[in-house]
Protein backbone atom coordinates (compact mmCIF):
# COMPACT_ATOMS: atom_id res chain seq x y z
CA UNK A 1 0.00 0.00 0.00
CA UNK A 2 1.49 3.39 -0.96
CA UNK A 3 1.81 6.29 1.46
CA UNK A 4 0.89 9.27 -0.62
CA UNK A 5 2.39 12.70 -0.03
CA UNK A 6 2.80 15.96 -1.89
CA UNK A 7 5.82 18.19 -2.07
CA UNK A 8 5.32 21.82 -2.97
CA UNK A 9 8.49 23.37 -4.32
CA UNK A 10 7.81 27.02 -3.58
CA UNK A 11 10.83 28.09 -5.62
CA UNK A 12 9.07 26.93 -8.77
CA UNK A 13 5.61 28.43 -8.11
CA UNK A 14 4.69 31.39 -10.31
CA UNK A 15 1.19 31.89 -8.86
CA UNK A 16 -0.49 31.19 -12.20
CA UNK A 17 -3.44 29.70 -10.27
CA UNK A 18 -3.71 26.85 -12.77
CA UNK A 19 -3.86 24.43 -9.80
CA UNK A 20 -6.85 26.27 -8.35
CA UNK A 21 -8.68 26.19 -11.71
CA UNK A 22 -7.75 22.57 -12.49
CA UNK A 23 -8.95 21.43 -9.08
CA UNK A 24 -12.29 23.20 -9.45
CA UNK A 25 -12.80 21.77 -12.94
CA UNK A 26 -11.72 18.22 -12.09
CA UNK A 27 -13.73 17.93 -8.89
CA UNK A 28 -16.72 20.02 -9.89
CA UNK A 29 -16.15 22.33 -6.92
CA UNK A 30 -19.10 24.77 -6.54
CA UNK A 31 -18.73 28.41 -7.51
CA UNK A 32 -16.97 30.53 -4.84
CA UNK A 33 -15.65 27.42 -3.04
CA UNK A 34 -12.13 26.01 -3.30
CA UNK A 35 -10.18 22.91 -2.32
CA UNK A 36 -6.80 24.53 -2.88
CA UNK A 37 -5.57 28.10 -2.67
CA UNK A 38 -2.48 30.17 -3.36
CA UNK A 39 -1.23 32.54 -0.68
CA UNK A 40 0.95 35.44 -1.80
CA UNK A 41 2.80 37.24 0.98
CA UNK A 42 4.80 40.39 0.34
CA UNK A 43 7.20 41.58 3.04
CA UNK A 44 9.49 44.57 3.36
CA UNK A 45 9.49 48.13 2.00
CA UNK A 46 9.96 49.07 -1.65
CA UNK A 47 12.40 48.44 -3.27
CA UNK A 48 13.54 45.85 -0.74
CA UNK A 49 10.62 43.49 -1.10
CA UNK A 50 10.33 39.77 -0.66
CA UNK A 51 7.45 37.69 -1.98
CA UNK A 52 6.48 34.21 -0.89
CA UNK A 53 4.10 32.12 -2.96
CA UNK A 54 2.56 29.15 -1.20
CA UNK A 55 -0.03 26.69 -2.39
CA UNK A 56 -2.20 25.32 0.39
CA UNK A 57 -4.55 22.37 0.47
CA UNK A 58 -5.65 19.58 2.81
CA UNK A 59 -2.48 18.27 4.43
CA UNK A 60 -3.79 14.70 4.74
CA UNK A 61 -2.28 14.69 8.22
CA UNK A 62 -1.02 11.54 9.91
CA UNK A 63 -2.56 12.83 13.13
CA UNK A 64 -5.75 14.40 11.71
CA UNK A 65 -7.88 16.43 14.15
CA UNK A 66 -10.74 16.45 11.63
CA UNK A 67 -10.93 12.65 11.85
CA UNK A 68 -10.79 12.60 15.64
CA UNK A 69 -13.54 15.18 15.94
CA UNK A 70 -15.90 13.58 13.44
CA UNK A 71 -18.83 12.06 15.38
CA UNK A 72 -19.89 9.64 12.64
CA UNK A 73 -16.54 8.49 11.20
CA UNK A 74 -17.46 10.19 7.92
CA UNK A 75 -13.99 11.75 7.98
CA UNK A 76 -11.52 8.91 7.99
CA UNK A 77 -7.88 8.11 7.34
CA UNK A 78 -7.26 5.55 4.62
CA UNK A 79 -4.43 3.04 4.49
CA UNK A 80 -2.85 4.96 1.62
CA UNK A 81 -2.40 7.89 4.04
CA UNK A 82 -5.08 10.13 2.56
CA UNK A 83 -7.86 11.67 4.64
CA UNK A 84 -11.26 11.26 2.98
CA UNK A 85 -14.89 12.13 3.67
CA UNK A 86 -17.62 9.51 3.34
CA UNK A 87 -20.37 11.79 2.08
CA UNK A 88 -23.30 9.58 2.99
CA UNK A 89 -22.20 9.43 6.64
CA UNK A 90 -21.58 13.19 6.96
CA UNK A 91 -24.26 14.95 9.04
CA UNK A 92 -22.92 18.44 8.35
CA UNK A 93 -22.09 19.24 11.99
CA UNK A 94 -19.03 21.26 10.88
CA UNK A 95 -16.83 19.91 13.69
CA UNK A 96 -14.19 18.95 11.12
CA UNK A 97 -14.18 22.46 9.66
CA UNK A 98 -13.52 23.87 13.14
CA UNK A 99 -10.93 21.20 13.87
CA UNK A 100 -8.75 21.77 10.80
CA UNK A 101 -5.84 24.12 11.64
CA UNK A 102 -5.26 24.67 7.91
CA UNK A 103 -8.83 25.77 7.17
CA UNK A 104 -8.80 23.30 4.32
CA UNK A 105 -12.45 22.32 4.47
CA UNK A 106 -15.75 23.83 3.44
CA UNK A 107 -19.38 22.76 3.54
CA UNK A 108 -20.91 21.93 0.18
CA UNK A 109 -23.45 24.73 -0.32
CA UNK A 110 -26.14 22.55 -1.89
CA UNK A 111 -25.55 19.08 -0.51
CA UNK A 112 -24.45 20.05 3.02
CA UNK A 113 -21.56 17.62 3.48
CA UNK A 114 -18.00 18.61 4.41
CA UNK A 115 -15.72 18.68 1.41
CA UNK A 116 -12.00 19.10 0.77
CA UNK A 117 -9.05 17.95 -1.31
CA UNK A 118 -9.00 14.17 -1.86
CA UNK A 119 -5.61 14.08 -3.63
CA UNK A 120 -7.89 13.27 -6.62
CA UNK A 121 -8.37 9.64 -5.52
CA UNK A 122 -10.43 8.92 -8.63
CA UNK A 123 -7.45 9.88 -10.78
CA UNK A 124 -5.00 7.88 -8.64
CA UNK A 125 -7.11 4.77 -9.27
CA UNK A 126 -6.60 5.37 -13.00
CA UNK A 127 -2.85 5.72 -12.47
CA UNK A 128 -2.92 9.49 -12.99
CA UNK A 129 -1.56 12.28 -10.83
CA UNK A 130 -3.87 14.71 -8.98
CA UNK A 131 -5.25 17.38 -11.34
CA UNK A 132 -3.31 20.22 -9.66
CA UNK A 133 -0.03 18.30 -10.06
CA UNK A 134 -0.70 17.39 -13.68
CA UNK A 135 -1.49 20.97 -14.61
CA UNK A 136 1.32 22.71 -12.70
CA UNK A 137 3.39 24.44 -15.39
CA UNK A 138 6.35 25.17 -13.12
CA UNK A 139 6.41 21.62 -11.71
CA UNK A 140 6.00 23.18 -8.30
CA UNK A 141 3.63 20.44 -7.11
CA UNK A 142 5.12 16.95 -6.95
CA UNK A 143 3.10 13.92 -5.88
CA UNK A 144 4.13 10.38 -5.04
CA UNK A 145 4.64 7.50 -2.66
CA UNK A 146 6.78 8.08 0.42
CA UNK A 147 7.43 4.35 0.73
CA UNK A 148 9.00 4.22 -2.73
CA UNK A 149 12.59 5.50 -2.38
CA UNK A 150 12.72 6.13 -6.12
CA UNK A 151 9.60 8.36 -6.18
CA UNK A 152 10.08 12.04 -6.88
CA UNK A 153 8.73 13.02 -3.47
CA UNK A 154 11.15 10.69 -1.65
CA UNK A 155 14.10 12.01 -3.67
CA UNK A 156 13.15 15.64 -3.09
CA UNK A 157 12.66 15.12 0.63
CA UNK A 158 16.08 13.48 0.85
CA UNK A 159 17.75 16.33 -1.03
CA UNK A 160 16.09 19.31 0.63
CA UNK A 161 15.22 20.74 4.02
CA UNK A 162 11.48 20.47 3.62
CA UNK A 163 9.10 21.97 6.15
CA UNK A 164 5.43 21.53 6.96
CA UNK A 165 2.79 24.10 7.88
CA UNK A 166 1.94 24.69 11.55
CA UNK A 167 4.29 22.04 12.88
CA UNK A 168 3.27 23.15 16.38
CA UNK A 169 -0.23 21.77 15.80
CA UNK A 170 1.21 18.27 15.96
CA UNK A 171 -0.80 17.06 13.00
CA UNK A 172 2.13 15.53 11.06
CA UNK A 173 1.09 16.81 7.63
CA UNK A 174 1.74 14.89 4.40
CA UNK A 175 2.21 18.05 2.37
CA UNK A 176 5.81 19.26 2.46
CA UNK A 177 7.20 22.62 1.43
CA UNK A 178 10.61 23.34 -0.09
CA UNK A 179 11.81 26.93 0.18
CA UNK A 180 15.59 26.73 0.16
CA UNK A 181 17.87 25.64 -2.71
CA UNK A 182 19.28 22.48 -1.17
CA UNK A 183 20.10 20.78 2.11
CA UNK A 184 22.73 22.50 4.22
CA UNK A 185 26.08 20.72 3.89
Amino acid sequence: MPRYAMVIDQRRCVACMACVVACKRENDVPAEYYRTRVVETVEGTFPKLRMELRSELCNHCDNPPCVYNCPTAASHKRKDGTVQVDRKKCVGCKACVAACPYDARYMHPEKGYADKCTFCTHRLLEGKEPACVATCIGKSRIFGDLDDPQSDVSKLLRQHDASVLLVEAGTHPRVYYIKKLSKAE
Partner: protein, 325 residues
Protein backbone atom coordinates in the same frame (compact mmCIF):
# COMPACT_ATOMS: atom_id res chain seq x y z
CA UNK B 1 3.29 42.43 5.35
CA UNK B 2 0.61 42.12 2.70
CA UNK B 3 -1.19 38.86 2.04
CA UNK B 4 -3.35 37.97 -0.94
CA UNK B 5 -5.20 34.67 -0.99
CA UNK B 6 -6.61 33.26 -4.22
CA UNK B 7 -9.03 30.44 -3.52
CA UNK B 8 -10.12 31.31 0.01
CA UNK B 9 -13.41 29.92 1.25
CA UNK B 10 -15.76 32.42 2.86
CA UNK B 11 -16.59 29.91 5.60
CA UNK B 12 -13.04 30.02 6.92
CA UNK B 13 -11.59 33.27 5.61
CA UNK B 14 -10.68 35.74 7.02
CA UNK B 15 -11.81 33.71 10.01
CA UNK B 16 -14.03 30.77 10.80
CA UNK B 17 -17.76 31.42 11.01
CA UNK B 18 -19.57 28.13 11.11
CA UNK B 19 -21.48 28.27 14.38
CA UNK B 20 -23.96 30.97 15.36
CA UNK B 21 -26.70 31.74 17.90
CA UNK B 22 -28.16 28.25 17.49
CA UNK B 23 -25.00 26.69 18.93
CA UNK B 24 -24.89 29.39 21.64
CA UNK B 25 -28.44 28.51 22.68
CA UNK B 26 -27.66 24.79 22.55
CA UNK B 27 -24.68 25.22 24.85
CA UNK B 28 -26.58 27.52 27.19
CA UNK B 29 -29.68 25.33 27.44
CA UNK B 30 -27.55 22.19 27.70
CA UNK B 31 -25.64 23.81 30.56
CA UNK B 32 -28.87 24.95 32.21
CA UNK B 33 -30.23 21.41 32.05
CA UNK B 34 -27.01 20.10 33.58
CA UNK B 35 -27.30 22.61 36.41
CA UNK B 36 -30.96 21.80 37.02
CA UNK B 37 -30.28 18.06 37.18
CA UNK B 38 -27.42 18.52 39.64
CA UNK B 39 -29.23 21.04 41.85
CA UNK B 40 -32.45 19.05 41.99
CA UNK B 41 -30.44 15.92 42.79
CA UNK B 42 -28.72 17.78 45.63
CA UNK B 43 -32.10 18.97 46.94
CA UNK B 44 -33.62 15.51 46.76
CA UNK B 45 -30.62 13.67 48.16
CA UNK B 46 -30.14 15.87 51.23
CA UNK B 47 -31.45 13.27 53.63
CA UNK B 48 -32.94 14.75 56.76
CA UNK B 49 -31.87 18.31 56.01
CA UNK B 50 -34.88 19.10 53.86
CA UNK B 51 -38.38 18.03 54.76
CA UNK B 52 -40.91 16.73 52.27
CA UNK B 53 -42.46 20.18 51.74
CA UNK B 54 -39.08 21.68 50.99
CA UNK B 55 -38.29 18.92 48.57
CA UNK B 56 -41.58 19.53 46.85
CA UNK B 57 -40.05 22.70 45.42
CA UNK B 58 -37.72 20.50 43.47
CA UNK B 59 -40.46 18.53 41.80
CA UNK B 60 -40.98 20.87 38.90
CA UNK B 61 -37.27 21.41 38.32
CA UNK B 62 -36.41 17.86 37.22
CA UNK B 63 -39.64 17.70 35.25
CA UNK B 64 -38.57 20.85 33.40
CA UNK B 65 -34.97 19.73 32.74
CA UNK B 66 -35.56 17.25 29.87
CA UNK B 67 -37.77 19.75 28.06
CA UNK B 68 -35.10 22.47 28.27
CA UNK B 69 -32.59 19.91 26.96
CA UNK B 70 -34.90 19.01 24.09
CA UNK B 71 -35.24 22.68 23.13
CA UNK B 72 -31.44 22.97 23.19
CA UNK B 73 -31.09 19.87 21.04
CA UNK B 74 -33.64 21.29 18.64
CA UNK B 75 -31.38 24.32 18.13
CA UNK B 76 -28.31 22.16 17.42
CA UNK B 77 -30.43 20.12 15.02
CA UNK B 78 -31.31 23.39 13.26
CA UNK B 79 -27.58 24.07 12.89
CA UNK B 80 -26.80 20.69 11.32
CA UNK B 81 -26.59 20.91 7.54
CA UNK B 82 -27.96 17.45 6.77
CA UNK B 83 -30.82 17.15 9.21
CA UNK B 84 -32.11 13.81 7.98
CA UNK B 85 -28.69 12.23 8.49
CA UNK B 86 -28.60 12.62 12.29
CA UNK B 87 -29.27 8.89 12.71
CA UNK B 88 -25.60 8.36 11.80
CA UNK B 89 -24.73 9.67 15.28
CA UNK B 90 -26.32 6.52 16.69
CA UNK B 91 -24.85 3.99 14.28
CA UNK B 92 -21.32 4.47 15.59
CA UNK B 93 -19.42 5.58 18.66
CA UNK B 94 -16.26 7.57 18.16
CA UNK B 95 -14.40 7.70 21.50
CA UNK B 96 -12.19 10.63 20.48
CA UNK B 97 -15.05 12.79 19.24
CA UNK B 98 -16.74 14.94 21.91
CA UNK B 99 -19.75 15.31 19.61
CA UNK B 100 -20.15 11.53 19.51
CA UNK B 101 -20.07 11.41 23.32
CA UNK B 102 -22.59 14.24 23.31
CA UNK B 103 -24.90 12.54 20.86
CA UNK B 104 -25.05 9.36 22.96
CA UNK B 105 -24.93 11.18 26.30
CA UNK B 106 -27.76 13.58 25.54
CA UNK B 107 -29.72 10.77 23.93
CA UNK B 108 -29.50 8.90 27.25
CA UNK B 109 -30.05 12.02 29.38
CA UNK B 110 -33.53 12.73 28.04
CA UNK B 111 -35.19 9.43 29.07
CA UNK B 112 -33.20 9.25 32.32
CA UNK B 113 -34.16 12.77 33.34
CA UNK B 114 -37.79 12.11 32.37
CA UNK B 115 -37.81 9.05 34.62
CA UNK B 116 -36.14 11.04 37.39
CA UNK B 117 -38.64 13.88 36.91
CA UNK B 118 -41.52 11.44 37.39
CA UNK B 119 -39.87 9.67 40.31
CA UNK B 120 -39.66 12.84 42.42
CA UNK B 121 -43.42 13.44 42.27
CA UNK B 122 -44.80 12.14 45.60
CA UNK B 123 -48.16 10.33 45.42
CA UNK B 124 -49.93 13.14 47.30
CA UNK B 125 -48.83 15.71 44.71
CA UNK B 126 -49.27 13.68 41.54
CA UNK B 127 -52.20 15.87 40.48
CA UNK B 128 -49.65 17.98 38.64
CA UNK B 129 -49.37 15.11 36.15
CA UNK B 130 -52.10 15.24 33.55
CA UNK B 131 -52.36 11.65 32.39
CA UNK B 132 -53.17 8.56 34.44
CA UNK B 133 -50.36 6.61 32.87
CA UNK B 134 -47.88 9.23 34.09
CA UNK B 135 -49.38 9.10 37.59
CA UNK B 136 -49.01 5.30 37.63
CA UNK B 137 -45.45 5.51 36.32
CA UNK B 138 -44.59 8.17 38.90
CA UNK B 139 -45.94 5.98 41.70
CA UNK B 140 -43.92 3.03 40.41
CA UNK B 141 -40.72 5.07 40.09
CA UNK B 142 -41.03 6.90 43.41
CA UNK B 143 -39.19 4.22 45.45
CA UNK B 144 -36.21 4.53 43.05
CA UNK B 145 -36.03 8.31 43.33
CA UNK B 146 -32.68 8.41 45.18
CA UNK B 147 -30.99 6.06 42.73
CA UNK B 148 -32.30 8.07 39.78
CA UNK B 149 -31.18 11.28 41.49
CA UNK B 150 -27.63 9.93 41.78
CA UNK B 151 -27.64 8.89 38.11
CA UNK B 152 -28.97 12.29 37.05
CA UNK B 153 -26.42 14.06 39.23
CA UNK B 154 -23.70 12.26 37.27
CA UNK B 155 -25.50 12.95 34.01
CA UNK B 156 -25.68 16.65 34.86
CA UNK B 157 -21.95 16.79 35.55
CA UNK B 158 -21.32 14.95 32.26
CA UNK B 159 -23.48 17.37 30.23
CA UNK B 160 -21.93 20.42 31.90
CA UNK B 161 -18.40 19.24 31.11
CA UNK B 162 -19.38 18.09 27.63
CA UNK B 163 -20.56 21.56 26.58
CA UNK B 164 -17.03 22.82 27.27
CA UNK B 165 -15.12 19.82 25.90
CA UNK B 166 -17.05 20.21 22.65
CA UNK B 167 -15.16 23.47 22.10
CA UNK B 168 -11.91 22.75 23.91
CA UNK B 169 -11.08 19.75 21.70
CA UNK B 170 -10.18 21.93 18.73
CA UNK B 171 -6.41 22.43 18.57
CA UNK B 172 -7.02 24.76 15.63
CA UNK B 173 -8.90 27.33 17.77
CA UNK B 174 -6.57 28.67 20.46
CA UNK B 175 -9.30 30.41 22.47
CA UNK B 176 -11.23 27.18 22.97
CA UNK B 177 -8.24 24.86 23.25
CA UNK B 178 -7.92 25.02 27.03
CA UNK B 179 -8.56 22.45 29.74
CA UNK B 180 -10.05 25.20 31.91
CA UNK B 181 -12.94 25.75 29.49
CA UNK B 182 -14.87 22.53 30.33
CA UNK B 183 -14.54 23.30 34.04
CA UNK B 184 -15.61 26.90 33.47
CA UNK B 185 -18.64 25.78 31.46
CA UNK B 186 -19.49 23.15 34.09
CA UNK B 187 -19.25 25.76 36.82
CA UNK B 188 -21.38 28.17 34.82
CA UNK B 189 -23.90 25.38 34.14
CA UNK B 190 -24.21 24.63 37.87
CA UNK B 191 -24.49 28.33 38.67
CA UNK B 192 -27.26 28.96 36.12
CA UNK B 193 -29.04 25.84 37.36
CA UNK B 194 -28.91 27.09 40.93
CA UNK B 195 -30.17 30.50 39.77
CA UNK B 196 -33.19 28.98 38.05
CA UNK B 197 -33.96 26.88 41.14
CA UNK B 198 -33.85 30.10 43.22
CA UNK B 199 -36.35 31.66 40.82
CA UNK B 200 -38.64 28.64 40.78
CA UNK B 201 -38.54 27.74 44.48
CA UNK B 202 -41.44 28.93 46.61
CA UNK B 203 -40.13 28.21 50.10
CA UNK B 204 -37.74 30.63 51.79
CA UNK B 205 -35.44 27.91 53.13
CA UNK B 206 -34.93 26.46 49.66
CA UNK B 207 -34.27 29.87 48.10
CA UNK B 208 -31.72 30.58 50.84
CA UNK B 209 -30.06 27.19 50.53
CA UNK B 210 -29.49 27.56 46.79
CA UNK B 211 -28.47 31.18 47.26
CA UNK B 212 -25.66 29.93 49.49
CA UNK B 213 -24.75 27.27 46.93
CA UNK B 214 -24.73 29.88 44.18
CA UNK B 215 -22.43 32.20 46.17
CA UNK B 216 -19.69 29.56 46.00
CA UNK B 217 -20.40 28.82 42.37
CA UNK B 218 -20.26 32.48 41.30
CA UNK B 219 -17.07 32.96 43.27
CA UNK B 220 -15.52 29.91 41.58
CA UNK B 221 -16.72 31.14 38.18
CA UNK B 222 -15.04 34.52 38.62
CA UNK B 223 -11.79 32.79 39.66
CA UNK B 224 -11.99 30.42 36.68
CA UNK B 225 -12.60 33.27 34.23
CA UNK B 226 -9.60 35.15 35.60
CA UNK B 227 -7.45 32.02 35.45
CA UNK B 228 -8.60 31.33 31.90
CA UNK B 229 -7.54 34.78 30.70
CA UNK B 230 -4.32 34.67 32.71
CA UNK B 231 -3.46 31.26 31.27
CA UNK B 232 -4.05 32.44 27.72
CA UNK B 233 -2.18 35.70 28.24
CA UNK B 234 0.92 33.89 29.49
CA UNK B 235 0.73 31.20 26.79
CA UNK B 236 1.80 31.16 23.12
CA UNK B 237 1.20 34.09 20.76
CA UNK B 238 -1.92 32.56 19.12
CA UNK B 239 -3.48 31.97 22.54
CA UNK B 240 -2.58 35.46 23.73
CA UNK B 241 -4.00 36.96 20.52
CA UNK B 242 -7.16 34.91 20.89
CA UNK B 243 -8.27 36.70 24.08
CA UNK B 244 -7.57 40.19 22.74
CA UNK B 245 -11.11 40.71 21.34
CA UNK B 246 -12.37 40.56 24.95
CA UNK B 247 -10.27 43.60 25.83
CA UNK B 248 -10.96 45.76 22.80
CA UNK B 249 -13.71 48.25 22.05
CA UNK B 250 -12.89 48.79 18.38
CA UNK B 251 -15.79 48.42 15.98
CA UNK B 252 -14.59 44.94 15.00
CA UNK B 253 -14.51 43.60 18.55
CA UNK B 254 -17.03 45.89 20.23
CA UNK B 255 -19.44 43.10 21.18
CA UNK B 256 -16.66 41.13 22.87
CA UNK B 257 -15.48 44.17 24.82
CA UNK B 258 -19.07 44.80 25.94
CA UNK B 259 -19.41 41.11 26.87
CA UNK B 260 -16.34 41.32 29.11
CA UNK B 261 -17.71 44.48 30.68
CA UNK B 262 -21.12 42.91 31.32
CA UNK B 263 -19.59 39.75 32.79
CA UNK B 264 -17.32 41.89 34.96
CA UNK B 265 -20.41 43.71 36.28
CA UNK B 266 -23.04 40.97 36.43
CA UNK B 267 -21.19 38.21 38.26
CA UNK B 268 -19.66 40.34 41.05
CA UNK B 269 -22.96 42.21 41.49
CA UNK B 270 -24.89 38.94 41.69
CA UNK B 271 -22.31 37.70 44.20
CA UNK B 272 -22.74 40.80 46.37
CA UNK B 273 -26.55 40.52 46.29
CA UNK B 274 -26.40 36.86 47.24
CA UNK B 275 -23.85 37.50 49.98
CA UNK B 276 -26.26 40.04 51.50
CA UNK B 277 -29.09 37.45 51.39
CA UNK B 278 -26.85 34.82 52.88
CA UNK B 279 -25.85 36.99 55.84
CA UNK B 280 -29.24 38.50 56.66
CA UNK B 281 -31.65 36.89 59.10
CA UNK B 282 -34.86 35.87 57.34
CA UNK B 283 -38.19 34.79 58.73
CA UNK B 284 -40.61 32.31 57.19
CA UNK B 285 -41.72 34.97 54.68
CA UNK B 286 -39.26 37.02 52.67
CA UNK B 287 -39.80 40.74 52.32
CA UNK B 288 -40.51 42.03 48.77
CA UNK B 289 -37.15 43.81 48.63
CA UNK B 290 -35.30 40.58 49.53
CA UNK B 291 -37.26 38.62 46.92
CA UNK B 292 -36.47 41.32 44.35
CA UNK B 293 -32.74 41.15 45.15
CA UNK B 294 -32.80 37.36 44.94
CA UNK B 295 -34.57 37.44 41.62
CA UNK B 296 -32.24 40.12 40.27
CA UNK B 297 -29.14 38.17 41.25
CA UNK B 298 -30.57 34.99 39.71
CA UNK B 299 -31.41 36.78 36.46
CA UNK B 300 -27.92 38.30 36.42
CA UNK B 301 -26.37 34.84 36.72
CA UNK B 302 -28.57 33.52 33.91
CA UNK B 303 -27.83 36.46 31.61
CA UNK B 304 -24.12 36.27 32.49
CA UNK B 305 -24.08 32.55 31.65
CA UNK B 306 -25.65 33.25 28.29
CA UNK B 307 -23.25 36.10 27.51
CA UNK B 308 -20.30 33.90 28.48
CA UNK B 309 -21.28 31.26 25.93
CA UNK B 310 -22.20 33.80 23.29
CA UNK B 311 -18.81 35.53 23.61
CA UNK B 312 -16.81 32.30 23.69
CA UNK B 313 -18.55 30.67 20.73
CA UNK B 314 -18.13 33.72 18.51
CA UNK B 315 -14.67 34.86 19.69
CA UNK B 316 -13.30 31.33 19.42
CA UNK B 317 -14.05 31.38 15.74
CA UNK B 318 -11.93 34.49 15.32
CA UNK B 319 -8.91 32.71 16.76
CA UNK B 320 -6.47 30.63 14.77
CA UNK B 321 -3.03 29.14 15.16
CA UNK B 322 -1.44 31.64 12.81
CA UNK B 323 -2.19 35.17 11.78
CA UNK B 324 -1.44 34.41 8.11
CA UNK B 325 -3.85 32.52 5.83
Amino acid sequence: METTVTGANLLTFPHLHIWDWRVVLYLFLGGLTAGLLVMSAIANLRKGKMDEKDRACCIKVPLLAPFILMVGMFFIWLDIERKLNVFWFYLTFQPLSPMSWGGWGLGAAIPLSLLYGLSVVPPELNDILRFDILKKLAARLNPYMRKLAVINFGMGIFIGIYTGVLLSAFVARPLWNSSILPILFLNSALSTGAALVILMARRTSVKLFFTKVDIWLIFAEIVLILLFFYGHYTSTAPQRNSIMPFFSFTSEYFLYGVSTLLIAILFPLALVFELIEGKEEHGEELSPSVVLRMKMSAYMVLVGGFILRFAFVYAGQLSKLTSVS
